[in-house]
């Protein structure tokens, strides 16, 4: 159970991660900032509370495996890994720069990163393979795969959805960052996913729905996951661009790089949020 202190620390971590991402993306002239911000609380809870990983021993065989299938939102992953001590914070300054180790989509070879992603719809199959290996080895580690909602358009997301349920991979946890906006519009307008929870249920998954910006709720849900013979799907209801008022719910911030006044305004909002 999460104490008030824990919660305070998590809120602080989320604020720092948003600031890290803002500067990384701005310096790189890149974006996907909205996709990063919708999953900040999810990442913070995973790394601060849930995943059994060792920052100083990133390939520890018994570690939980984390696959960020929505690889375009890697700035936030890199930030949380750096803040957890997997690699130096100064690496973040090199994000997307010439000769950097940190590309604009998740790339393996960086401490704490299991696999490269970037093309949508690859992660869940890889995660299912990892979970199958753990199941056959009777290992205790768990596999967590974080997907975007847009990624649920991919047929290759639903192939492992069938597979994982059939093989009762109950140490596999898929988290859908359901921010309701994809590349060219809202999920509802582009390719409707509703009823999304029912779809995962129909595929044989144990489905949990959470407010993806409520650390206490995310933490409680993850902490209560039990092996029931079914893989788990956590549908996290989130807001694209969460944390900066003018980015929230705006498709534009899938693409737009915060600069000048926008950068200052965003930084100020995030800073003030900490003081409040």
């Amino acid at each position: 159970m999460m104490t008030r202190e824990d919660e305070g620390r998590l809120t602080q971590l989320c604020r720092e991660l948003r600031i890290d991402v803002l500067h990384m993306v701005s310096r790189a002239g890149s974006s996907h900032i909205g996709s990063n911000y919708s999953m900040i609380e999810l990442l913070a809870v995973l790394y601060a509370r849930f995943l059994r990983v060792r920052p100083l021993d990133p390939t520890w065989p018994e570690r939980d495996r984390f696959v960020l299938s929505k690889g375009h939102a890697c700035a936030a992953l890199y930030a949380v890994l750096a803040r957890q001590g997997f690699f130096p914070m100064r690496w973040l300054d090199t994000f997307c720069q010439d000769g950097s180790r940190l590309a604009g989509h998740v790339t393996a070879g960086i401490p704490g990163v299991e696999v490269s992603t970037g093309s949508l719809g690859h992660g869940l199959s890889i995660a299912a393979g990892m979970a199958l290996a753990a199941q056959r080895d009777r290992a205790a580690w768990r596999t967590v795969c974080l997907l975007s909602d847009g990624e649920c358009d991919e047929g290759s997301t639903w192939e492992p959805a069938l597979f994982a349920a059939h093989h009762r991979l109950d140490a596999l946890i898929a988290i859908v960052d359901y921010n309701k906006i994809q590349s060219l519009g809202t999920v509802r307008d582009v390719l409707a996913l509703e009823p999304l929870a029912d779809k995962w249920r129909a595929f044989g998954w144990e489905v949990h729905e959470v407010d993806g910006h409520a650390p206490r709720e995310i933490d409680a849900t993850l902490a209560e996951l039990r092996p029931t013979g079914r893989p788990h799907c956590v549908i996290a209801h989130t807001i694209k661009g969460k944390g900066v008022s003018f980015m929230e719910g705006e498709l534009l911030w899938h693409y737009r790089c915060p600069r000048g006044d926008e950068l200052r305004a965003a930084a100020m909002e995030l800073d003030t949020a900490g003081a409040a």
Binding site: A108, V115, S119, I126, L132, E159, L162
Partner: protein
């Protein structure tokens, strides 16, 4: 080849519990015994090749040696991006196996003809590309591919291919096997075409041409030394593959020869020049339509050599009449 493959795979898997076979719901009568005897090393991904390939990446990430198995283009083209991103990029220890290379599934139609797979697989980073020529080669390359740490593509024929090598062969990946010695020209064959090449060599012998025959079971890395030696020793080189002439063995050979100082005076690719999706028939029928039967190749070799000889004769006549100055080294050779 299919039988030789599954026997070799089963033997290796019995000795090494890391070896895992993932099928895309194909291999009736082929994978059945493996599945029964080694259930912990077998999984059926369903009719879902992208999932099969992603699963393989995840299993390999957890220390396994993984074989994905399906037929024709399903394990390759259908899951191409998973192979590129999830297997080749991290150099995952996954062996992509396809049964039914070329026209092996002839009558089933163009969807089942794997005629661009070598080109596509060869272009992927870190990929070793293997297309054995007979069952014995299939047996040996299976064990060799499993012993190699990294991604491989293994293109097999189907069943019932004749044994070509007489007596034992010691196969090394990336090293061509000399199936027959010869001094006038060289035939280089891959992916089940060695048998045809040997017959062509016999026919050429009957008309006084001595043909060396190479089994190029590994298309990548290609045996550069064997090709350059052939170019030096025999001066005419012909590649034979049941595959598009674009991007396969012929293209790979041309790349090696053109970049090297040793160039044969004559070079020609035998392969599929035009896709003929309307054609329906057996592997033998389709090979003949593509000009890949013994008659067509023998004639093609002879015509090509005559054309070059004729051109040379014209050049020397013209020179004798003083119309061409003697400068073309290539024409003189």
């Amino acid at each position: 080849m299919r039988t030789a493959f599954i026997k070799a795979l089963t033997a290796c898997a019995q000795a090494d519990p890391r070896i895992t076979l993932v099928t895309g719901d194909l291999g009736f009568g082929v994978v059945t015994d493996f599945a029964r005897d080694l259930p912990g090393q077998y999984v059926n991904a369903g009719v879902a090749e992208q999932n099969m390939t992603g699963l393989a990446a995840g299993l390999a990430h957890s220390g396994r040696i993984v074989v994905t198995y399906s037929i024709a283009n399903f394990p390759t083209l259908r899951a191409l991006e998973q192979i590129r991103n999830d297997i080749c990029a991290p150099r995952a220890n996954v062996k992509v196996v396809s049964v039914g290379g070329g026209f092996a599934y002839g009558p089933l139609g163009a969807s089942h003809h794997a005629t661009e797979d070598l080109a596509v697989m060869r272009a992927l980073p870190g990929m070793t590309v293997i297309a054995p020529n007979d069952p014995e080669e299939a047996r040996q390359v299976t064990a060799a591919a499993l012993a190699l740490d990294g991604p491989c593509y293994l293109r097999l024929g189907r069943a019932g291919e004749p044994a070509v090598h007489q007596g034992p062969v010691a196969l090394t990946l990336g090293r061509a096997l000399v199936a027959r010695q010869g001094s006038d020209l060289t035939l280089v064959a891959t992916g089940g075409m060695l048998h045809t090449a040997m017959h062509v060599a016999t026919r050429l012998r009957d008309i006084g041409l001595s043909a060396r025959v190479l089994s190029m079971h590994t298309v990548r890395p290609l045996d550069r030394e064997a090709l350059l030696a052939a170019a030096r020793d025999t001066s005419a080189l012909f590649t034979i593959e049941e595959h598009s002439v674009i991007g396969g063995l012929g293209s790979a050979t041309a790349e090696v020869l053109l970049e090297a100082d040793e160039r044969p005076a004559v070079f020609m690719r035998f392969g599929i020049r035009e896709s003929d999706d309307a054609a329906i028939g057996s592997q033998e029928f389709l090979r003949a339509r593509a000009g890949l039967d013994v008659d067509s190749i023998t004639n093609g070799v002879v015509e090509c050599l005559e054309r070059v000889r004729h051109a040379r004769r014209q050049v020397s006549r013209a020179r004798a009449r003083g119309r061409v100055r003697s400068s073309g080294a290539a024409a003189e050779r």
